[in-house]
Symmetry: C2
Subunit: 139 residues, 2 copies
C-alpha cells in the first residue's frame, strides 16, 4: 500500500467512525473538498442598530449574540459584520449578521420560542431599528 | 477502558486524523454538537427572477447554480428557496438563495472573476430582475 493510499484509507475510516458516532453527517460536513449543506434550514438575520453604535452597544450586542447561539437546536452559526466588499449589488449597510442553521423547520420553531431567544429579544430589541430575516430551505 | 471511553478515544483520534489531513478544520467543522463557522467569509446572494418563473426557467437556473458551485475556492454551499415561514421581519419574496462560504476574502475574489462565475452571469443575468448580496466576516 502506498503512503498516499494509506492516508486515504485512514481518512475514510476516520470519517466513517465519526459518521457512525453521529458526529460527521452528510448534512453538516463531508470528507470532500466542498461541503454541501443541502438538507439544512438556513436562518440568516441582519440587524441595523440605532445610531450611535458605540463600543458599549457593540459589546452588549455581541455578548447577547454569543449567549443566543447556545440554543441547543442550532447546528452551526456565524456571527458577523459586513465584509470590505463594495459592488453595486452588495448591501453592506447592516450592523450585524447572525447566520444559523437548523436540521429542519421544526428545530427552528423551537429556537423561536426558546427562553434564550426570548431573552435576547427582550434585552436587545431596543438596540435595533431594523431587522431582516431570510429563511431558506434547500432546492 | 469502558466502552464509552473507547468510543470517545476513537472519535478524538479520528477527528485528529482528519484535521491532520486538512479535511476537518476548526473553521469548517468541529467534533462538538454545534459548528462555529467563525473564520469563514460568508457570501449570501438572493435572486428575484423575472415573472413568469416557469418550470423551464427554474430548471435552467438551478442547473446553472449547480455548475456555479463547482468553483474550487468555495468551502461550503447551500442552494435554496424561501422556507414556509412568515413573520413580519422575514423577507420571503426572493426566488432563489445562493449561500457560499470561503476561507477568506481573497478566495472570494478568485470566485468573482472565475470563468465559471462569469459564464453563470452571462447565461443567467437576463433571468433576474434584482440581486442582493450580503458579504460577511466574523466578529
Amino acid at each position: 500500500m502506498t503512503k498516499q493510499l494509506k492516508r486515504r484509507r485512514f481518512i475514510e475510516t476516520s470519517a466513517k467512525g465519526l459518521a457512525a458516532a453521529g458526529i460527521l453527517t452528510a448534512s453538516s460536513c463531508t470528507t470532500g473538498n466542498k461541503e454541501e449543506m443541502g438538507s439544512l434550514f438556513l436562518h440568516h438575520v441582519f440587524f441595523w442598530l440605532k445610531e450611535p453604535v458605540t463600543a458599549e452597544v457593540r459589546s452588549k450586542f455581541e455578548s447577547a449574540l454569543r449567549e443566543l447561539i447556545t440554543v441547543e437546536t442550532i447546528v452551526s452559526y456565524h456571527l458577523g459584520i459586513p465584509a470590505s466588499t463594495g459592488r453595486d449589488v452588495i448591501d453592506g449597510s447592516y450592523t450585524y449578521s447572525l447566520f444559523t442553521t437548523f436540521r429542519n423547520k421544526e428545530d427552528q420553531d423551537i429556537y423561536q420560542t426558546h427562553p434564550t431567544h426570548l431573552k435576547f429579544i427582550e434585552d436587545c430589541s431596543t438596540l435595533w431599528e431594523r431587522v431582516v430575516v431570510y429563511d431558506t430551505v434547500s432546492i
